[in-house]
Symmetry: D2
Subunit: 359 residues, 4 copies
């Protein structure tokens, strides 16, 4: 089996592994008050020359979303998100469990549109009986569907938030992949558009860990208290600092994301060439192919992937590349895709044969 199941199935990039070994017996103060966290924060800050940020580290993504949203919202304030948003679909009700309603809007491409956002705000504000205040917009970039917001889209969402006294939060579980997808903005722009966001380590070569970046001064105080209360301060916090040092010291954060994106692009282009319909056209390290039953049956024992959804009689699968995906595996995958397509075409041409086979 070749592995294209996800980007959190392997350990960490070499520079991080090396740091962990080298510093293993050092003695550090606890709870993220160490020099490595300070250094990692400094490295991230250096990518945001136009903003002064508070930076914190948390072990995992759902926990990061919970802490940030608990920190920002008062009880009567809601978060608006795409209906495909991670917080709305894959976090086991964690946001509601911390007391907050999520207003979801349809988002076929994974992106919350400006129009949807305006409508969601209007619905709440114009209805006195809602007794709710729209206060936070949550988007993921790259999205859960592998797509990436354009500069214009982000500028518009940011402007709507400012107009409406709301905050913009970006879940950056795959921020590196978004930034390396060929778009015309940088982390420095993100920091200006968003009031707070996070930069994912887990899905881009760290063992674990995400970096929270708070740029809006109003949101800076007391974050660590909410973090502690959510069980989100690691005793050996320097492990998170070390890892983000490893990611940012030589821009490996960017290089590895580009590497993963490039491999995904090769696969996607080949899929198009072969005639596979795409469930979603993406520019990052996640791909979504539509398979017929024959293709699926052929590929499922050779490639480790995730079924995304069923689509009429077809099956949508997700393929994911990572910092550690080998070029050989990509070639092999492309060959399998070719063979699966051939088989499918052959079956179509002689459906009787297929039926006979079934008997």
């Amino acid at each position: 089996m070749i592995f294209f199941r996800n980007d959190y199935g392997e350990g960490c990039i070499e520079p991080i592994l090396k740091l962990l070994q080298e510093k293993n017996e050092e003695k550090n103060p606890g709870y993220g008050t160490d020099d490595y966290c300070a250094r990692a924060a400094e490295l991230i800050q250096s990518k945001l020359p136009d903003t002064k940020a508070d930076i914190h580290f948390i072990a995992s993504g759902t926990l990061t979303n919970v802490v940030m949203i608990r920190h920002v919202l008062r009880p009567h304030e809601v978060v608006i998100a795409a209906d495909t948003a991670h917080i709305a679909t894959h976090e086991g009700g964690a946001i509601e469990a911390s007391g907050h309603k999520i207003i979801t809007m349809p988002a076929s491409s994974g992106k919350l549109s400006a129009m949807s956002l305006r409508k969601a705000i209007h619905n709440l504000v114009s209805d006195a009986s809602s007794y709710l205040v729209p206060k936070l917009v949550y988007i993921s970039n790259a999205t859960e569907l592998g797509t990436v917001y354009t500069r214009t889209e982000l500028e518009e969402l940011s402007a709507i938030c400012k107009e409406n006294d709301m905050y913009l939060m970006i879940d950056g579980a795959r921020m590196a992949q978004a930034l390396m997808s060929g778009i015309d903005y940088t982390l420095n722009d993100i920091a200006k558009w968003a009031d707070l966001f996070w930069i994912g380590g887990t899905k881009n070569g760290a063992l674990f860990g995400e970096a929270v970046v708070i740029t809006n001064d109003a949101l800076k105080p007391y974050f660590r208290m909410i973090q502690k209360q959510s069980g989100a301060i690691l005793a050996k916090g320097w492990l998170l600092g070390l890892q983000f040092m490893g990611l940012f010291e030589n821009d490996d954060f960017y290089k590895y994301a580009k590497y993963a994106n490039d491999l995904a692009s090769i696969i996607q282009n080949e899929a198009i060439r072969l005639g596979y319909p795409l469930f979603m056209r993406t520019t990052t390290n996640q791909l979504f192919l539509v398979l017929d039953q024959t293709q699926y049956d052929y590929l499922k024992d050779k490639v480790d992937f995730e079924i995304w959804t069923n689509w009429d009689e077809n099956i949508v699968i997700r393929l994911v590349t990572s910092w550690n995906t080998s070029k050989t595996d990509v070639s092999t995958l492309c060959q399998y895709m070719q063979l699966a397509m051939d088989l499918s075409k052959k079956n179509e041409e002689s459906p009787q044969d297929e039926e006979e086979t079934d008997e």
Copy 2:
């Protein structure tokens, strides 16, 4: 500075570091559904021959307490704990934030006594206007003050819980140290007395990670859902499995705890010999010495420790040993303690001199 500040200031034991390197590029399924978690659970289960347990892994301690207590308690049910309990003092209101009241009882030695527990239960049950049901007892073993429950004490607490249809939960952040403190019970006994407990990795040689053990069948279902909802399932869950394999495969879990306890014992005995009052007599890897101002002033720049509390005009400090504390550092510490005591005695004999020095 020699380091006796805590037992979570260093990386991990050699076998774990080696596993992390060896397995770094392997491809694993996510969220703890991998073979290493299964193997680690098997190893822990093998220590509990008389019980059939469900075993889960969580990255850090406060989060583990939150998940377990959220899992066990319905809204009207309370947890009873010592007033020194970690959940009552050092978790930033995390238990209350998840909706649950903690009833604390005075516990000068860090241990919840059977009498205190009976009293707390009686207070709630006999007062119809409390509208609360005592349902969970939380204890730490070893306690936050380095002490360890005796077999009789645990048997009695366990019996009271059973009598009152309550659950006994043990926070085992330093379970290894408790088990290696010379007591006459094992993890197998713990599993019979407690309905659920956790085994700390973070403070005994893992990079991070705690193992949750649920022995009461009524508490087994749905734990993973509560875990997910609390942001407590790690994407790269196999990292936790690997570490607990490292701790239990060759009983390093026990060996390293014994090592730390032994060093602490050397220091404590020397402190007694030198005439230092103990704030608490302990049998694990935490020590609490009472220093006068002279001793404190002398030691504070040579030894990295934590101030526990002030006691009249004296200062109580905590010293902690770990799997990685060197014997040389222990010797050096003992010498410093000797010199600090000499200095203090000299000052007492010639208080005028001291006062002059102060001018």
Copy 3:
């Protein structure tokens, strides 16, 4: 202005007012432990011969929903409801504030269909990454749109709940109006289909107060504790008992609901006769008419009603009758509706005139 704004704009029916006066100086035990609550419970129980219920009283509707849902659900369990459900639209995020996610399904007539329910359950159960368990179905009967579930619909929803180990809860803010709408089932049937439900007093002639009926034995224990914790036990609880005695002692509960329904029916029939489109055809005391701008302008200063929504260039208004609506007001309303329709037709015939009028 004639009043058709809502059914909670007036005091209480005569028998209740009389009881409040007569018993005013009596001395009662507090918190609903009095004889009147017992008697009221007995009267309600007498309507449910096939079921043995626990019955409690709470001052208001949103609070009742919060207490019941907090009581039933553990943190990982969700409630499924129509997207028009009161808990999803008009309770200010109260359910989420108590930690629970609501899964809403489209319901154009205000009714959750069996198909929608099956789909919602399937979505959660078939997706391992949801980490959520469907446990409760919430419906309102009569619905927020004035419609009423049929016997078959309720039987099917009830059966689906049983199949899936779920509970069925009915918000009966307008239960009396549903039962008096010409359907072929009674409160006794409701008690067999639902695991728990409530009977609204506020919107059917009480000053305030709703009766919670729990028929599923598994849900009976500890309700009062959750009620207290939610601030939902009234010190002078006997006031609630008295009012439900007033409602049920001589079946005024049913009589007044029938009275309100009948008046609403007169208005709705007249609206149909006059050619008003209905936004929703109802059989209870709420009506929804579609007005054009001319009709709206004419009626808005003569009739006190609520704007429900805008519909293209038209306006949907809600008219509500109550136990205290006078037949005279109904006649007057019908005349106004006639005149508004005439005006509208005249405008249509001579649009120029209209424009001139506008100048």
Copy 4:
């Protein structure tokens, strides 16, 4: 049985009952947006000439405390209270259920002392590992033990709050009784000292209802949203307005509280004259007598009271007067107290007789 069990066992004062009758068939807008609520707020505001307040009405006391504390506190902020505080002892964990930790301090007389408050603040602020911010002080006036804060005490608590950027909240379930207890301050002073407080109707002659007064501008916005989300906005909100009109239109609020206090004072003085020990010397409508077994046995079938606590071999009972307590009942109670004391003295003189009786 003569009734001295509580002050919420009877209906309402005559002026309120009359208003309810007179206005019963009027048509009012819902949810407290009516003229009566406005008028009641105006009347209360007129008692606070030096302050501009926001005023809201809620049906019951525990719910009022929950809404106010949820409104004020962010998750990392705690409320400090006496260990006898209603929120800490008689609300079924409602504050914790809404996510907030209560720090309680010992308070033998029911009053939180300035020293205790300073200590509680110091404990949190000086301990970096608490991760909690003291933000709110909760006191009850009159207290749960019938005592009343002095002007100096309130000024000092208020000053400490201001010094520490904290808010002072007063639970005024028995505010009227406190103000009529012979102290040298008024509601106008309360409004200057407290940032928010409530005025109890339920325990001083209303059927139900408490008035929330918010004087600190920072706490005014969004209160109604938190109120709605907590299920604390009554559909027929004008009922609350009417009742507070009834209480304040002719100062009946004050007159009835004075009446109840005066009767309590007669009883307390008689108890002292007869030689009964007082558990607590009070100046409001609650009294706490210490009875021996003989006295208790004699009184328990003649007087309806509450057992407060056991005290060695004695029993502490609570007696409560209300707006509706009759002077005849007070006389009868005093006679019973005399007879109980005689009986007790006789038994003491001839203990053998008593013992024989026991056989």
